[in-house]
């Protein structure tokens, strides 16, 4: 049995801070959409992938029917008045055990992500964190678990810069996501401390983030 039952990718948001007029998962970086890069990253690990759509859903539905017919599209018809946590809850349909939840605007380094998933196999809740770098970071305070010696997340902070920021992906039971209008990290805060494993991640929220992500993808291409 796979340690993770499936993945839910939240792609319903407006992406208004980036202002490109299309869902962020549909932006091409390094010649491939972010969505295709995420699906390719997840494929060796999960058989079931749910993609939650809202803003300009027809673009993603058509794209998936041609390039990723095996994914399940979940519609968030209330994407304008709900947030990512609601999309992730809708996307959990048919899942009951351990699910990987991700934002659809992430470019993720494969090697460090594999380390994260291996770590997540043994934990109830595992949070993705990355070196702080994005324009509007949610910082995380970390510490070392006295029993296992592993890194753990102890708090989220908007205004207190730390080494790491919240990377907008995590592994958890669907039961953790309840209805409400909180941000995802706010939904997870009551369950801290939680296991973590730093991953190299670039989130695309603003034009500056996109430039950074493109530069990183180009540097990876040159390296390989």
């Amino acid at each position: 049995m796979y340690p993770i039952e499936g993945a839910v990718i939240a792609c319903a948001g407006l992406g208004s801070r980036l202002g490109m007029g299309l869902p962020k998962c549909m932006i091409e970086v390094g010649g491939q959409t972010i969505l295709s890069q995420l699906i390719s990253l997840l494929r060796p690990w999960v058989t079931r992938i749910h993609v939650v759509v809202g803003y300009r859903e027809e673009l993603i539905i058509d794209y998936c029917s041609r390039h990723h017919p095996e994914v399940v599209i979940v519609r968030n018809g209330e994407f304008r008045s709900t947030n990512t946590a609601h999309s992730l809850m809708l996307g959990s349909i048919g899942f009951s055990r351990k699910v990987l939840y991700l934002d659809g605007d992430l470019l993720i380094d494969r090697e460090s992500f594999e380390g994260f998933l291996e770590h997540a196999a043994g934990c109830e809740l595992t949070l993705g964190i990355t070196q702080a770098k994005s324009s509007e970071a949610v910082y995380v305070s970390t510490g070392t678990d006295s029993d296992s010696g592993s890194l753990e997340v102890r708090g989220f902070h908007r205004d207190m810069p730390t080494e790491y920021e919240w990377a907008n992906f995590f592994v958890a039971s669907p039961a953790l996501l309840g209805p409400g209008s909180k941000y995802v990290f706010e939904c997870l805060a009551p369950f801290l401390p939680a296991a973590t494993h730093p991953v190299e991640v670039f989130e695309v929220d603003t034009p500056e983030d996109l430039d950074r992500a493109k530069a990183w993808v180009n540097s990876q291409a040159i390296k390989n």
């Binding site: 027809e58 539905i61 029917s65 519609r75 899942f95």
Partner: protein
């Protein structure tokens, strides 16, 4: 939770639309396929289109229609699902009872279809199924706490709107935009569909 699974027949459980296959017998497969496509896309009201197609295709003897339908491949994964969840599965089809009854009997689950009668050797469409009404009648039975519906064409929209979980399915061809608007989920692969249905 007790769940009923309601499936469209043509292009969902069957891998081809049935009426164009029958029309091939009369050498008018292309014409009926065009009519079927226009109907599925919602450009022609389903009842008008079905009466017209029944009028034309009624020339083919029912026994021959059964042979033709018998030769249409069924989606194997959906077939296995219906077999495994026989008591909870339903075929909800606008197609005519006289044509699809042998196939539906073989599937072994319950079904709703349009109804016909013979009048002086002529095929007469007596009742055209409103798929939304089929779901409502199933709900009135009170046996199922949750109803899941799977469809792809314009006449599936009312069924999807009445269901608790509505799935626009594009296993054979893309679901029409109206079914997507009425749906909670869009699924294009039979394996993904059956995996999800089993997990619900």
């Amino acid at each position: 939770m007790s769940t009923a699974f309601c499936f469209d027949l043509d292009g969902t459980v069957t891998t081809l639309e049935i009426l164009p296959c029958i029309a091939a017998e009369l050498g008018i497969a292309e014409e009926i396929a065009t009519l079927t496509r226009l109907t599925m896309d919602g450009h022609i009201p389903f009842p008008d289109s079905l009466r017209l197609r029944a009028l034309i295709l009624g020339q083919v003897p029912a026994e021959r229609v059964h042979e033709i339908i018998d030769s249409i491949p069924l989606e194997p994964m959906l077939l296995s699902f219906i077999d495994a969840f026989n008591d909870a599965s339903f075929i909800v089809t606008g197609n005519l009872d006289i044509w699809v009854e042998p196939l539906l009997s073989r599937l072994g689950c319950r079904w709703f279809s349009s109804k016909t009668k013979q009048d002086s050797g002529r095929l007469v469409v007596e009742h055209i199924l409103d798929k939304g009404e089929a779901i409502r009648s199933l709900r009135r039975e009170g046996k199922y706490e949750r109803i899941v519906a799977v469809g792809d064409g314009a006449n599936d929209i009312s069924m999807l709107e009445e269901a608790d979980i509505a799935i626009a399915y594009g296993g054979v061809h893309p679901p029409i935009p109206g079914t997507i608007i009425a749906a909670d989920l869009v699924i294009n692969h039979p394996s993904s569909l059956c995996t999800l249905l089993k997990a619900l």
